[in-house]
């Protein structure tokens, strides 16, 4: 704040955003959004084209690489995009620095934990014995 009148308007506001940083985060949100455009369309198209939605059909679908690989990507990219987006919401609405750090930490743990659980389920489907 002691930059005085010599600071440019940009110099006065730089670093005063809600997060104080974020170029990479901004880009990550966009790149994952484009990936999810493809993966989300794939998921909906798959659900429409599958002969049925019973457990046996779904296991066959997710055991083959054509089903397993996009679904693994959907889980990883989906949780990453959700984490990116929820961080923006937290940074906007949680003003106290300590609370903001705690909220972002909880979000990170939830996202990584949820993704790990979903990936473990996919691994059991793909590599598990006859179900």
């Amino acid at each position: 704040m002691s930059l005085g009148d010599s600071a440019t308007p940009l110099g006065k506001v730089r670093g005063l955003g809600s997060a104080g940083e974020g170029g990479e985060h901004w880009l990550s949100e966009r790149v994952t959004s484009i990936a999810l455009l493809l993966l989300g369309t794939w998921l909906i198209a798959s659900l429409i084209l599958l002969p049925g939605l019973d457990q046996h059909t779904l296991v066959e679908w997710l055991r083959a690489p054509s089903g397993a690989v996009p679904m693994v990507l959907l889980v990883i990219v989906g949780f990453r995009h959700a984490l990116d987006g929820m961080k923006v919401v937290v940074d906007d609405y949680v003003h106290d620095e300590g609370n903001r750090f705690a909220c972002n930490l909880i979000l990170l743990f939830l996202a990584v934990g949820g993704a790990a659980l979903a990936l473990f389920a996919l691994a059991s489907i793909a590599f598990g014995g006859a179900a």
Partner: protein
């Protein structure tokens, strides 16, 4: 630059007249939050249920077909399409295009019309085909 004078707060919902662009903007955040929490929870639950075997999956499928389950799934489907279309609008606006008042308003309305139409189409198909 009189940057110390009081400036309007950004989401000043009480003083600005509501328009489609405001509705779509807040819907983008609300649907993003819903998809992050409920959407990923249901996706993970679904994958775990498939991995757990036919009996566990029947329980999941029965719950999904119940009235509450259908409300949640149809709601998440709409949230997905709304967030997807609105996200595409944001990607276009990220390039600096689409800010003309008429164009901006038209695309904001189109995301809502599109998301409702896609949700109705998908569920008309799903309920017709699965049953």
């Amino acid at each position: 630059m009189e940057s110390t004078k009081s400036r309007p707060l950004s989401p000043h919902l009480t003083v600005w007249r509501w328009g489609p662009h405001m509705l779509v903007s807040i819907l983008h955040r609300v649907t993003g939050g819903a998809l992050s929490i409920a959407g990923l929870a249901v996706l993970t639950w679904w994958l775990v249920a498939i991995a757990d075997g036919p009996d566990a999956y029947v329980k999941f499928a029965d719950l999904a077909r119940s009235p509450i389950g259908l409300v949640v799934l149809v709601g998440l489907t709409w949230a997905f399409f709304q967030h997807l279309l609105s996200g595409m609008r944001h990607l276009v606006m990220d390039t600096g295009a689409g800010f003309e008042l008429d164009t901006n308003k038209r695309f904001a309305i189109l995301t809502i019309v599109g998301s409702i139409a896609l949700t109705v189409l998908l569920w008309a198909y799903m309920l017709g085909a699965v049953k």
